[in-house]
């Protein structure tokens, strides 16, 4: 069963003093996310990622279209008991302690009273906030708030978790922790739908990604497939203080770093290059085919619309 089926969901607002001008936030979007999948929703700021998430969470009403979540209509109240949500740059009631906040959310999520305390304690431990459980949230750092945000999103053991820019504004350690938590969610069999504009995070975590730009879906693909496509080039790393002239004559792009050289060349010139290295008695460190990256896919999908209307998904 599909975890999420977005069926031509569309949103436009009316802006201006008299609300006379329509502003399209999301063009008809059709997308299916499978159960157990970690799905990345990529796009630059203002692309329509947050609007899509808000539509799915029922925080804004669609202009047209609908969606089905876990086999139910997206606005069915039963859906929300099985869904967790972390908004972008989340704000919480800062007069509450971490423990009180999670207890409040557990109450609202319908976690049975006898289970609540155990669930809250376990969740605080899981996100490493046991020592700050009784500290008011106004004294939490940004990273701690993000962790408590993740805790509230999975507190009620949802089947599906929506995360809006979960790594935004975090330091490298914070990002790593969030990445590990998403991995853990995947291992638990949860479906994770997260928006981001940090491609390395998406590449490391996602099974599939969708790219959205100016409110329009530009492409969908499996990360493993996108990053395994050979580009007809190889990368050679070898020990040398400078690039041998014969190699330069082959037309390689080379970069010297200390006593190492990193060279990229066409696949058909690979044998000739290896022979040159052998003749010059230079030690080969590695030879790897150059694969396309998610970044290339991303840039390629964003490009056509920059110059005018054209290619889509």
């Amino acid at each position: 069963m599909a975890a999420i089926e977005i069926l031509d969901l569309e949103k436009s607002y009316r802006v201006g003093f008299w609300h006379q001008r329509p502003k399209v936030a999301l063009r008809p979007l059709r997308l299916t996310i499978k159960e157990g999948e970690v799905f990345g929703f990529l796009g630059p700021n203002g692309a329509g990622k947050t609007t899509t998430l808000k539509l799915l969470m029922g925080l804004v009403t669609p202009t047209a279209g609908t969606a089905r979540i876990l086999g139910m209509d997206y606005d069915d109240p039963r859906v929300k008991a099985q869904v967790g949500f972390l908004p972008e740059q989340p704000y919480f009631y800062d007069y509450l302690t971490g423990e009180e906040l999670l207890t409040y959310y557990a109450q609202l999520s319908g976690v049975p009273a006898k289970e609540r305390s155990r669930r809250v304690t376990a969740m605080l431990e899981r996100v490493g906030l046991t020592d700050s459980a009784r500290t008011q949230l106004r004294k939490y750092s940004k990273g701690m708030l993000q962790r408590v945000g993740l805790a509230q999103a999975i507190l009620h053991d949802p089947k599906l978790v929506f995360l809006d820019e979960p790594m935004s504004g975090l330091d490298p350690m914070g990002r790593r922790e969030v990445r590990e938590m998403i991995q853990q969610m995947r291992n638990e069999g949860k479906t994770v739908f997260f928006s981001t504009h940090i491609l390395s995070d998406a590449e490391a975590l996602c099974d599939r990604v969708a790219i959205i730009h100016q409110g329009e879906l530009r492409g969908v693909g499996a990360v493993a497939h996108l990053t395994s496509q050979a580009q007809g080039k190889v990368e050679i790393i070898f020990c040398a203080a400078s690039v041998p002239a014969a190699l330069t004559a082959l037309g390689v792009e080379a970069r010297v770093s200390g006593d190492m050289v990193n060279a990229v060349l066409e696949e058909e010139k690979q044998d000739a290059a290896l022979e040159i290295l052998q003749r010059a008695h230079l030690r080969l460190i590695s030879l790897t085919p150059v694969r396309s990256s998610l970044e290339e896919f991303y840039v390629q999908k964003l490009k056509p619309r920059e110059n005018g209307r054209g290619a889509g998904a």
Binding site: L59, K80, Y91, Y104
Partner: protein
């Protein structure tokens, strides 16, 4: 009460307590004890009158100010701070949230009024040295003040569901002032005819009739309060606030949380 409404209400109450809203009680206690001592020194035979008048007016004023200033931020602040997102992404319906907020705010005001009422009665005891049967009118006046708070809270919540805190406070305060003159408005409406008369009558009956809740003078003089007025005021306050809250729910239900 639906348990989710109860949780939202309790959290609203907790916010008020932690935001030190109840600290106004200290100012109230200082004001009232100072007045009681002063009145005891300078007035002869009218101490009770002065203390009841001053005490009840202060209870009403403090409460209305709290109701407006807390009420106007109840929904708009949650939207602005985005705290609402994580609440409404749970199995909480929007109407439950609005009603919970309303109960939380009225709960805060009831607790606040309870402590202020104790202050009024202590001041009364200080100047009169004993309680009298006529003091029951003071209790009823306090009850009417609480009913008045219900309506003010509902109005603040209604405006808060679609307007900015500043505009909400202006609208609510304006309605409170107009409502306090509702009797005069109704008198004016009776004197006018034609379209103006119809408009004036419409406005006079649409604005909340706060003047019906003001029996401070009667209570100060120890006059009895008819049971019919208690029943009428109770029904009126419940109906008016229920309708206002329904309006807030209708507006909030359609609102896009951008």
């Amino acid at each position: 009460m639906n348990s989710r409404i109860g949780y939202v209400a309790f959290n609203t109450f907790r916010e008020a307590v932690r935001d030190r809203v109840l600290y106004n009680l200290v100012a109230f206690a200082v004001l009232l004890s100072g007045a009681a001592i002063l009145v005891g020194e300078i007035s002869i035979d009218i101490e009770r009158l002065v203390v009841v008048n001053l005490g009840l007016t202060a209870v009403s004023l403090f409460g209305v100010v709290i109701a407006i200033f807390m009420g106007i931020g109840l929904v708009s602040k949650e939207i602005e701070k985005k705290t609402l997102y994580t609440v409404l992404s749970r199995p909480v319906r929007r109407w439950e949230f609005v009603v919970g907020k309303f109960f939380g705010l009225t709960g805060t005001l009831v607790v606040n009024t309870f402590f202020m009422a104790i202050g009024v009665f202590l001041a009364l005891l200080y100047v009169a040295h004993k309680f009298e049967k006529a003091d029951t009118a003071v209790l009823i006046a306090l009850y009417f003040i609480v009913l008045e708070f219900l309506i003010v809270c509902a109005l603040a919540l209604l405006f808060s569901s679609f307007s900015t805190p500043l505009m909400s406070s202006v609208f609510t305060f304006a309605l409170f002032l107009i409502g306090s003159l509702a009797d005069d408005l109704r008198g004016f409406a009776r004197m006018t005819h034609g379209l103006t008369g119809a408009l004036a009558t419409g406005v006079a009956y649409l604005v909340p009739n706060f003047s019906a809740f003001n029996i401070i003078n009667q209570a100060a003089h120890g006059d009895p309060v008819p049971g019919r007025l208690i029943a009428y005021n109770t029904a009126y306050a419940l109906l008016y606030s229920a309708m206002t809250i329904s309006g807030a729910v209708l507006i909030f239900q359609r609102r896009n949380l951008k």
